[in-house]
Symmetry: C2
């Protein structure tokens, strides 16, 4: 057996090379786990960019009204009115939409239909959300990672050159990017789309889109209509505060949606997710409260960090990626010991950076106070 | 573009041959859909083998107690106490268990780690749950379908011969089988395990296990300990009545679990599923009620069908597969017009069969009454 794990005695299981070098996902520290380990009670988690307000009260109310019989029925997402409501809010035809169990499953399905078994590769960039590359590796799809430019921005020229030189099925970009928070400009996205071969699909992962464009939708839907090889993915996990329910969606040309529907398992989206998202779409007051809290929180955090002379990436999201100016791990651990969970970015090769979710005013204050104590120590 | 769907103008997307011949999943008729189409109000769905009692009241109570903040947090299944509780109830070490979004995702992950990119194939049998073959096709993994014997049972000898002749990564069997309800004997499973090459994994899909062994667990856990190449999958969708929440699990050698953890997306299981299943495991009264209702319902349905002289497969599940003795479609459609949704099995090549879920006493009676009227017409 050519891998770490091994079956007893004479049994032998093999796997393809991509999986041989993968490690199981190590989840971020959970609140209950930290409580157990350190005997702490008042723990705040600023590690996974969840909504500090929780989810929409309308969504919670709709969930509470579900009956034991609804819970027992297989979900039938394609028959659910959420499809039409979401499409109507986006101002698009529902044939351009597919719902999925989180947007991460859509990346997997996109790689499966566009690249698997075709001697084609995936392209992404340095400091991109790591799941793109992990999923390509799982499926045995080769991938190329383009270094960022000196401002941590995407090097569009290098990306285009790579797409001319190789058979590239799909390019993945998060905009704004996670874990840096950096926004790619409309001009750059447009230049990329205009230069891409017409056989290459661009996936724009817009998980943080609503934070970057709080006034309403951006230009990307319009670009999607113009460029059928553009796929947008979005999520109910962030601004809608429904990360626990797992619901993401893609906006794409109907031909691509149809391919995704061929391979997507039929019951991927659960009933509570459909019910909660349907209600959440009406809760404009909750979205507004979230945006205001986040804007104020970002200002509060920036001000606090500026006072300390600490650098951070310019963020268009609900998190700040901070350069500790030294190895991040001791800072992370000292924060943990104070009951504050944040995200070190070692797996990204960002050795001195911590990603910190914008919390409530009190949570931000608590973070800033402890962070100050630690780095001035 | 070598497929049905097509992108506009000069854009071109290709996909591998397995996906080219797949069709999007057509969901069974939903209650709301039928209501809309036929203007009916009192509709019963006996099409997807859901629990007619709904889910456990303890599970519902636990769900109602979830806060907006819990709903907003990413699930962390590996840190959730459900793992330990489930393993303890099964009497196994938790390293032998993996939770997943329904057991269907586990089939996909098993195919990915065991067969993808290795020039190995998958083996299943005629009338097996169709998702095994669909998922192999999606991943471009060749598969071989073994015809059943004259009693619709699995032809173990033919299966063993195939596994000797070909490089078979994995064999999929549902026990009891869906959609026929037929149970494979312990002797046959043992003979298969003893004859399989030690490089071949047997996946026993035990979605209906608790209906077949209502007195408690069967021999399969014991066989799993003896044969590290045996993987069992089970679900909370059937007897626990949580199909809407999407939770399944596998029991396997830790080496295989470790491989699955490498490739499984980290947030596949949602928070409500974890919370509900944790509570449901304590609700022995609900399980007992479900088993009694199903036993009585099966007897009621068999008696009704015997009176009509209608044949059916001997079932060890919560459904009966009935031979209408004529094309099933007109019968299915007449039942629909009476507000009764059942499942025709045309895609399985069973042209005269309907799969009917055992419902409440009143639902079974209503089905029998309408079915009698239709076939005596």
């Amino acid at each position: 057996m050519d891998m770490d794990s091994s079956l007893p005695s004479a049994y032998e299981v093999t796997t393809h090379p991509g999986i041989q070098s993968l490690k199981p996902y190590v989840p971020g520290k959970a609140i209950e786990e930290l409580a157990r380990e350190q005997g702490l009670t008042d723990i705040i988690k600023l590690a996974s960019n969840e909504n500090p307000l929780g989810c929409s009260p309308l969504a919670k109310k709709a969930l509470d009204q579900m009956t034991v019989h609804q819970l027992a029925l297989y979900p039938s997402p394609l028959n659910h009115p959420l499809y039409d409501k979401l499409a109507a809010q986006l101002g698009i035809d529902r044939r351009h939409v597919i719902l999925s169990n989180g947007s991460d499953f859509l990346f997997w399905y996109l790689l499966t239909v566009l690249a698997l078994g075709q001697d084609k590769c995936m392209v992404t960039h340095q400091f991109a959300f790591s799941t793109y590359a992990i999923q390509a590796q799982t499926l045995g799809i080769p991938f190329i990672t383009i270094p960022v430019d000196k401002n941590y921005g995407i090097d569009i020229d290098a990306m285009l050159m790579t797409c001319q030189k190789h058979a590239v099925a799909v390019v993945f970009i998060a905009n704004p990017n996670n874990p840096t928070g950096v926004l790619t400009s409309k001009a750059d996205i447009l230049r990329l789309l205009e230069g891409l071969p017409r056989t290459t699909v661009l996936v724009l992962d817009e998980a943080y889109h609503e934070y970057a464009y709080p006034q309403g939708d951006s230009y990307s839907l319009e670009l999607q209509r113009r460029f059928p090889n553009l796929v947008l993915t979005r999520t109910f996990s962030k601004i809608y505060g429904l990360a626990g329910l797992r619901l993401g969606y893609a906006i794409a040309d109907p031909a691509i949606i149809e391919l995704l529907l061929r391979v997507q398992l039929p019951f991927t989206v659960n009933q509570p997710a459909l019910v909660a998202a349907y209600a959440a779409l009406d809760d404009f007051a909750f979205l507004e409260r979230t945006i205001v809290l986040n804007r104020m929180g970002l200002a509060q955090m920036r001000e606090g960090l500026d006072t300390l002379g600490v650098n951070y990436f310019s963020s268009h999201t609900n998190f700040l990626t901070i350069d500790c100016g030294r190895s991040s791990i001791p800072v992370y651990e000292q924060l943990l010991s104070q009951g504050i969970i944040v995200r070190p970015l070692i797996p990204y090769g960002l050795m001195s950076h911590l990603r910190v979710t914008i919390g409530t005013e009190a949570q931000n204050e608590r973070f800033l106070k402890q962070f100050k104590r630690i780095i001035q120590d």
